[in-house]
Amino acid sequence: MPDFPPDLRYARTHEWVRVEGTRATVGISDYAQTQLGDVVYVELPEIGTHVEFESEIAVVESVKAASDIYAPVTGEIVDTNDELDSAPETVNADPYGDGWFFVVEMSDDELSSDLLTAEAYEVLCQEEGE
C-alpha cells in the first residue's frame, strides 16, 4: 500500500509539498512512483527559474512513460536535487525523503486551496486505481 504522510499537501497531479517557513519542497507521491514504475531520468528546472502554480516545471521519465511535473506553488526555484541525475531510482526508493525534486521560495503566503490533505489525496488515488 502506498504511503500518504499526513504532514504534506498534495496536488491532483500527484506532486507533494512540504512547507517550512516560506520555502516549499516538492516531490512526487509514493502512489505516483508506483504507478510510473522504475524512474530512469528526472529533468529538473534551473535554480532561479520563476514558476507559476500548476505550470509544467519538470519531467520524470520512467521505463513506462514520460510525465510532466507541475509546480504546486508559485515562486522561485532556489534548490534542486542534483543527486537524482546519477541516482534517479531514489524517487522510487524514498519519494518523500531523498527523492525530493526541488525547493521553491514562495511568493504567496498561503498554499492554494486546490492542494489536498493526505486524507483527500488518498481518496483520489483510490478512485484512480479503480
Binding site: 514504475g37 522504475d38 530512469v40 531520468y41 529533468e43 519531467v59 521505463v63 514520460a66 522510487n92
Partner: protein, 352 residues
C-alpha cells in the same frame, strides 16, 4: 483472460497489464531489477499467452511449406526454425517458431495474432482439402527460463543432463516437458511447453531456487537490447521481410516451392527495399518511444519500438528509416531533437 500461473504471480506481488486480451504481469516490483537478473543470473517468464498450434505431419507438411518462408521439410526432427508467415503481398502476417517433432510439427505464435493466424491457417488448410490438420493447444503453458544460469538450473530441476549440450534452436521432449533451446532475451536459455499442472510445478520450483520472475516490461527491454523484432510494432502486415531485417529466414532453395508472398517479394532480392529497420542509440538523455519521428540526412523515419536500456543506461530504439540512412541522426523526443546514432545490432551481446 489469465494464465493458469496467475495466482502465483499475484502472490509474488505482480502488477498486471492488459496485453492482447490477457492480464499479464508487467513487473513484480522492479522492471530494472528483473532485467538485470536475466543478464546476470536467471529469470523466468510466464508466456502462456502465446499460442501453441500442433500440425499433423501429413498433409501438414505441404501446408507449412506453403504458409511459412522456411522450408519445414528440411528441418530435422528435434530442430526448430524462426520463421515468418507472409500474405500474398509479401507483408508479414506473423513471426513464429516452427518445431519438427517425431510426428508432425508444432508452431508457437504470438498472443496478439492468435485468432488471425488460426483463421489464416484454417483458410489455407481448407484450400488444400486438409481441414482439421492444425489444432490450437490452448490448454498448454509456456515458461521461458533465460540468463547465464538458466541452463544449469533448468537441467538440475528437470533432471535433464543433456540440456547443456542441446544446440540452439533444438529441443527435447522429456517427461511432462517440451524443452527448447530458444528465447527472446539474447541470453542463453530455454522455453518450456507443458500442461498447466506441470507448469505450476516447474514455476514454483524455479522461483524457490532463486530464479527471478520477470514481467512483460523487462521482456521488452531485454528483446530490444538483443535487437529482436516485436510483431505489430517493428514488423506488420504492410512491411515485408526485407524492410524488417528478417529476410534471412526465407529459404529460396526450392524454386518450385511457391510459399505465399514469394512472387511479391522475390524481386526485392535484387532491387532491395525502400526502407530499413535499424538500431538507434541516443547519445544524450532521453527515451525514444514508438511513433517518435527520426530525422536523418536521407530523410525522415520513425521509431517502431524504443526503451531505456538498463544495461547501456541510455535510450535505444528500433526505427524504420530510408534505406540509405546511416550515421548520425536525431530523434524528436517530446518536441526536442535528441542526437542519436544508427548502430549495429544487437545493442547488447551475450557474455561468454
Amino acid at each position: 483472460m489469465r494464465t493458469p500461473l496467475s495466482n502465483l504471480h499475484v502472490e509474488a506481488g505482480a502488477r498486471f497489464i492488459e496485453f492482447a486480451g490477457w492480464e499479464m504481469p508487467v513487473h513484480y516490483g522492479s522492471q530494472l531489477e528483473e532485467h538485470h537478473a536475466v543478464r546476470n543470473n536467471s529469470g523466468c517468464f510466464d508466456v502462456s499467452h502465446m499460442a501453441v498450434v500442433d500440425i499433423d505431419q501429413h498433409p501438414g507438411e505441404q501446408l507449412l511449406r506453403r504458409l511459412l518462408v522456411c522450408d519445414v521439410s528440411r528441418l530435422n526432427i528435434g530442430h526448430a526454425a524462426y520463421a515468418l508467415m507472409l500474405n500474398e503481398r509479401g507483408g508479414i502476417v506473423d513471426d513464429l517458431i516452427a518445431y519438427r517433432r517425431e510426428k508432425g510439427y508444432r508452431l508457437v505464435i504470438n498472443a496478439g495474432t492468435t485468432q488471425k493466424d488460426l483463421d489464416w491457417i484454417a483458410r489455407h488448410a481448407k484450400e488444400q482439402h486438409s481441414i482439421g490438420v492444425a489444432r490450437h493447444r490452448a490448454e498448454l503453458c509456456i515458461i521461458a527460463v533465460q540468463g547465464p544460469q538458466a541452463i544449469e538450473i533448468t537441467s538440475t530441476l528437470l533432471g535433464l543432463q543433456g540440456l547443456k549440450e542441446l544446440e540452439s534452436f533444438s529441443f527435447v521432449e522429456h517427461e511432462r516437458y517440451f524443452v527448447s533451446r530458444t528465447g527472446y532475451t539474447g541470453e542463453d536459455g530455454v522455453e518450456i511447453i507443458s500442461s498447466s499442472e506441470a507448469a505450476l510445478d516447474l514455476w514454483s520450483r524455479l522461483t524457490a531456487n532463486g530464479v527471478q520472475p520477470v514481467g512483460l516490461g523487462a521482456r521488452d527491454s531485454l528483446r530490444l537490447e538483443a535487437g529482436l523484432n516485436l510483431y505489430g510494432h517493428d514488423m506488420k502486415e504492410d512491411t515485408n521481410p526485407f524492410e524488417c531485417r528478417v529476410a534471412w529466414t526465407i529459404d529460396w532453395g526450392d524454386r518450385d516451392r511457391g510459399f505465399i508472398g514469394r512472387s511479391a517479394i522475390e524481386p526485392l532480392r535484387k532491387e532491395g527495399a525502400a526502407t530499413k529497420l535499424v538500431g538507434l542509440k541516443l547519445t544524450e538523455r532521453g527515451i525514444p518511444r514508438e511513433g517518435f519521428s527520426v530525422r536523418t540526412e536521407a530523410g525522415t523515419g520513425v521509431v517502431t519500438s524504443g526503451t531505456f536500456s538498463p544495461t547501456l543506461k541510455q535510450g535505444i530504439a528500433l526505427a524504420r528509416v530510408p534505406v540509405s540512412a546511416r550515421g548520425e541522426c536525431h530523434v524528436e523526443v517530446r518536441r526536442k531533437p535528441i542526437p542519436a546514432k544508427i548502430t549495429r545490432l544487437p545493442f547488447v551481446h551475450k557474455r561468454n
